[in-house]
Amino acid sequence: MLAGINKIGDLEWEVPIGYVPDMRVPGRFFLSRTLAETLEEGAVRQLANVATLPGIVKHSLAMPDIHWGYGFPIGGVAAFEMTEGVISPGGVGFDINCGVRLITTPLTEADLARRKRELIERLFAAVPTGVGAKSTMRVSNKDLSAVMVDGARWAVERGLGTEADLVRCEGEGAMTGADPEAVSAKARQRGVPQLGTLGAGNHFLEVQVAKEIVDPEAAKAFGITEGQVCFMVHCGSRGLGHQVATDHLRTLEAALAKYGIRLPDRQLACAPIDSPEGRAYYGGMVSAANYAWANRQVIMHESRKVFADLFGIDYDEMRLVYDVAHNVAKFERHDVDGVSTEVCVHRKGATRAFGPGAEGVPREYAGIGQPVIIPGSMGTSSYLLHGTTAAMEKTWGSTCHGAGRVLSRSKAKKEVRGKELRERLAGEGILVRAHSDAALAEEAPGVYKPSREVVRVVHEAGLSDIVARLEPLGVIKG
């Protein structure tokens, strides 16, 4: 482990006050010895930088997929007091409400066998992907305002899903407090043609099989069985969200002097939660988050249509298990020194993982805890977990969000050839479809930490418990 960091538990580490100047609270993160080998000093410094922000409560936290980003580290979680505390786009990221949803089907791997390639091709045709992808939907500016307020419900009310879908989304697929006025004309211009598109980079639509059920009771509650074919959607708020983040970061950066906030990194630009700039960012961020929920709802709808048409199954037989956000800031009630207190929780590359009985967990899952979905990288397992009481106590009800990169894009391009990778995965029974082989190399499985190790750490640290492991069968790459 890096110098200056203290071990405080089997998998728990503390970054003491003083690691960087002006820290108000210590930092804490969760990591195994194996994962510690790839821990970057820059990521720890970013974790410590977050601890200098006004109004931070208890600790600056990071999940075991911690790595070096900008502003907050990726995997960073922090809560802020509602009166003295701040809100920061650097604690959310450019891709507001990047998230994941998991859907089960009544099919088994054998049902797919001969038609897997056809399925992947049909999904690739149905869901616009990659740089420059444009939606086939016609969305007016007025529609866009409604999307930003209603989120997934907007799509469901237009027949692109069912009421049951909404119940199985974090926050029922929308946050309250959207302010479309805080979304610039530029952001709108980017958002209109992109609703229902996957985007690029690490975003994907993946067909999977539930390979291993670890917790039968929870799996039963979540409606997932061994051998079942599922699909997973990983994407966010597209250009609209990126523009909202860019616009408000700029405004907040210019307002730092006004609030007398001194920062070790300008990417941590922030304002008091209850200030004109803070409220505007929150309203814009919520609008973008709701757009992302609508986006994933539309993509799921288009995918369901492909499955129904190809395999003659009913639309309603494809059940949404859950939809989680992993880049967002939310007002939540948590126990602070024995008192239920409202705080603003930032999760940047971290997933909400509310435990059994927590407010906000769907009634049908109340006894188990919220489903948590951790996507793997192309060719590696994804996991379904559930939230825990320990997460509520230790991490504001949060857990990891993914595998975390270990190999840079430039190195990946040198070491991996996209075409060979596609062929190798096909040999393993995993069909990959993307606009270019070059883009595949950047997202090759070897560039990420093994998802199983990250998931093992959150499981053993008690931040969430593994329910099922899913293996990929086919991937549509963004």
Binding site: E40, H67, W68, G69, Y70, G71, I74, G93, F94, D95, G130, V131, G132, K186, Q189, R190, P193, G199, A200, G201, G239, H242, Q243, A245, T246, L249, R250, E253, A254, D265, R266, Q267, A269, R405, V406, L407, S408, R409, S410, K411, H435, S436, A438, A439, E442, G478
Partner: protein, 135 residues
């Protein structure tokens, strides 16, 4: 003038150099488009951009963010950047071509430009800046 990609696990880190500030800004534009699309040709698409900011670093971020906006909403890919700075006011003429999925899908989407570590440094032979592009 040049740009090179440095090691960065999560995002894309570029070191950009220019003999003058005008060249530095032009190269930063080229660097970003090479990340997003790979090769591009000048095929009669031309666009003018005017931006003003309170300091050079903010100007660079605003300029690159504007390019991200333009490329996305206008479906254009740019490769030539004629930039003129007057203090912290920028005017640029950018040239390129219409986005063609067959030829421009080798790159990755840039989501935003980070303030983290962004500092324009004057060296003996010109200017240098390191920029993190969120991908």
């Amino acid at each position: 003038m040049s740009f090179e990609e440095l090691e960065h696990t999560a995002d894309v880190l570029m070191r950009v150099r220019g003999a003058t500030l005008n060249e530095l800004f032009a190269e930063a534009g080229r660097a970003m488009f090479s990340v997003m699309y790979g090769p591009c040709e000048d095929r009669d698409v031309e666009r003018r951009i005017e931006i003003e900011a309170e300091n050079l670093e903010s100007l660079l971020i605003d300029y690159l963010s504007e390019l991200l906006f333009v490329t996305e909403v206008e479906n254009t890919v740019f490769c030539t950047f004629d930039v003129e700075l007057l203090g912290t006011r920028l005017s640029a003429v950018i040239r390129g071509e219409l986005f063609d999925p067959a030829r421009h899908s080798a790159g990755t989407l840039v989501k935003g430009i980070s303030y983290f570590g962004l500092e324009i440094v004057k060296e003996e032979e010109g200017y240098v800046v390191e920029i993190i592009f969120d991908i």
